[in-house]
């Protein structure tokens, strides 16, 4: 992967030095929004890889509603990350929820799911694992599993949010913005946008389809203080191109 290209995204997220600095996203909520024209799955893959490649005490709890484990394993191998090995080393806890269904309006199922996550997180904290990242792929399917009960899904996310404040977990969630485009006030997506500390949105280019540029990515980082009194750029916009073994990020107009 082009080290320089990945820095644009890492810089926007505050993850500048790979592997040497502590995971700086502890206690923060990241919301990824995409649409049919520009899938943001590559962002999940990137964050998964970064979370596992930093300090060895980092653990990822992955709620998979969209794809089976084999899919992520295949994709991450091309990015240079062996998910099967990480799973064996208990650095990756993969919760396969492909066929999950929550009867009775979804509340009891979501309560049980939260309970499972909290149990895992509490146990990891007791083992001195400082950085735990919870990744949800994706929220629209969680809503489906809960029979459309978006209120219960919001309650579940609220409880997951308490894990970020109490245990310093990082919460990453992917949602498809265009699913809610016909709704006047889509509660789930609006609530999430208020909840998120970092909002990442992929969109097609204003000029339409292009061979060399697959879309544009906007990152709104609501945290402005980097702990040393300096305020960083807070809104980032750059283009991306998805390749076979990675993603290239570049400033608009800089593509040769």
């Amino acid at each position: 992967m082009n080290q320089r290209a990945s820095n644009l995204l890492d810089e926007a997220l505050g993850l500048v030095d790979e592997g040497t600095n502590p995971w700086t996203l502890s206690g923060r909520v990241l919301l990824i929004e995409d649409c049919v024209e520009t899938s943001a799955a590559f962002l999940l893959h990137h964050l998964l890889k970064r979370a596992l490649s930093t300090l060895s005490s980092n653990v990822v709890v992955f709620l998979a509603l969209s794809q089976p484990f084999s899919h992520y394993d295949r994709v991450l191998r091309k990015l240079g990350c062996n998910l099967a090995a990480q799973k064996e080393n208990k650095r990756l806890l993969f919760l396969d929820m492909l066929t999950s269904e929550f009867p009775d309006g979804g509340e009891s199922g979501l309560v049980a799911l939260y309970g499972k996550i909290e149990k895992v997180v509490s146990a990891l904290i007791e083992e001195n694992k400082k950085s735990i990242t919870i990744i949800i792929d994706d929220l629209s399917l969680l809503e489906v599993a809960a029979n459309g009960a978006s209120n219960h899904v919001l309650d579940f996310l609220h409880y997951c949010h308490t894990l970020t404040s109490v245990f310093g977990c990082t919460l990453v969630a992917l949602n498809h913005e265009d699913i809610y485009s016909s709704m006047e006030k889509p509660a789930l997506i609006l609530h999430l946008e208020y909840l998120a500390d970092i909002l990442m949105k992929t969109e097609p280019l204003a000029t339409g389809l292009a061979t060399d540029v697959h879309g544009q990515l906007t990152v709104l980082n609501k945290e402005t203080w980097d702990g040393q009194g300096r305020s960083r750029n807070r809104i980032f916009n750059f283009h991306f191109r998805i390749k076979e073994n990675g993603v290239e990020y570049f400033s608009p107009g800089s593509r040769a």
């Binding site: 909290e118 209120n151 609220h158 308490t162 404040s165 006030k185 609006l190 208020y194 807070r234 809104i235």
Partner: protein
């Protein structure tokens, strides 16, 4: 103007009157309502500690942040939290608002609950029960100030969470009961207006003596697609905005004010709008691309324009042709009148149009009728 808001809450309620109530409302276009909320919270806390406030204590109902977050925030802003038990109580509606954790412990699914630093807070495990919520708030307040005449103020960090679980009428009842309680000095809350129907914001607005709305500085930037060209403009507009405040007086009069704010490193600061900006903001002129206002020179020039038919006061009689020809004039132009044709005067210096009526009996058109105030 943010200071005016804080002053109103600090001064509290008059005897026999409902407590002043503040709604802070924002939207995703300018989502800095929480920053305004924490600013007001900090100012009120400072006034309580300094003994300058009517209220002797503060009950904070926390839905979106943990109690320890607020303790850290107040400490970072110079508020003495060591003595917090004497002046602040936090009703924790954040950690377990629906009792899920209790259910999991009961069912044996989790063995230990998260331990929050307990600094003067108690927990609410069912935010759907408005009556229980009201009782909890009052009990916490009385625990701070006692049963006597000393009052306490109430801060709700968001009403959105309770609106997700309860109807607007039950939430209104809660707020109304709090406002009318003899020991409540003032109350304020945050509302994200785009999460609810317009009527919800309207209902809460009617119940408020002050409504502070957070708006973007540049309204035309709403919905603008972010790209490299407008990135710096979007960034500048995002962290700056307007605080639009409506004060409702007891006599019914409404006072509207505006102030600019800037958020830097999660701290909000306010600046007064310049007089020019304030005049423009108060104007009801729509914001369009062409100028609808006159400069002073333009106003003077307009005053000098002589309007037709206006009394000039110069003693000269002004004769206006009303379409009727005198007998002499009609005899001189007998040949052209019979045809009723338009005739132009053969005069190389100017042209004119002479309208000849078909009949002298024809009444003049209504717009040719002379007006009393004109020189006709």
């Amino acid at each position: 103007m943010a200071e005016s808001i804080c002053r109103a809450l600090r001064d509290g309620a008059l005897e026999g009157e409902h407590a002043p109530a503040l709604t802070i409302r924002d939207s995703l276009a300018s989502p800095f309502g929480f920053d305004v909320f924490t600013h007001v919270l900090t100012q009120l806390s400072s006034n309580i500690l300094a003994g300058k406030s009517q209220s002797g204590g503060l009950v904070l109902v926390a839905f979106t942040r943990s109690p320890s977050f607020y303790m850290r925030l107040l400490k970072m802003r110079g508020i003495d939290v060591a003595s917090s038990r004497k002046w602040i109580q936090i009703l924790d509606c954040y950690t377990d608002p629906l009792g899920w954790k209790d259910r999991l412990v009961d069912s044996g699914n989790i063995t230990s609950l998260s331990k929050e630093a307990s600094t003067g807070e108690s927990s609410c495990k069912n935010i759907k029960d408005m009556a229980k919520l009201f009782t909890s708030i009052i009990e916490l307040g009385k625990g701070l100030v006692g049963q006597g005449k000393v009052r306490f103020c109430v801060a709700i960090d968001t009403v959105d969470e309770i609106l997700r679980h309860a109807s607007i009428s039950s939430v209104s009842r809660l707020i109304s009961n709090l406002r009318s309680n003899d020991q409540v000095s003032s109350i304020f809350w945050l509302l994200h207006s785009d999460l609810h129907e317009d009527r919800v914001a309207a209902v809460l607005g009617y119940m408020s003596s002050i409504v502070a709305s957070i708006e973007r500085l540049n309204q035309s930037a709403n919905g603008q697609i972010c790209n490299s060209e407008n990135l710096s403009l979007l960034e500048r507009n995002y962290w700056n905005g307007k605080l639009h405040v409506r004060f409702k007086r007891r006599n019914g009069r409404v006072r509207v004010m505006q102030e600019e704010f800037h958020v830097e490193q999660s701290v909000i600061s306010f600046t007064t709008l310049s007089p020019g900006d304030e005049l423009i903001n108060r104007s009801l002129m729509p914001k369009v691309q062409f100028s609808l206002q006159l400069s002073e020179k333009e106003q003077n020039d307009r005053a000098k324009v002589v309007l037709p038919f206006e009394h000039q006061g110069n003693g000269k009689p002004i004769k206006i042709y009303d379409g009727r020809r005198s007998l002499e004039d009609s005899q001189d132009e007998a040949t052209s009148v019979s045809t009723g044709a338009l005739e132009t005067v053969d005069n190389s210096s100017k042209g004119e149009i002479i309208y000849l009526r078909d009949s002298d009996d024809e009444r003049p058109d209504s717009d040719e009728d002379p007006d009393d105030d004109l020189d006709i």
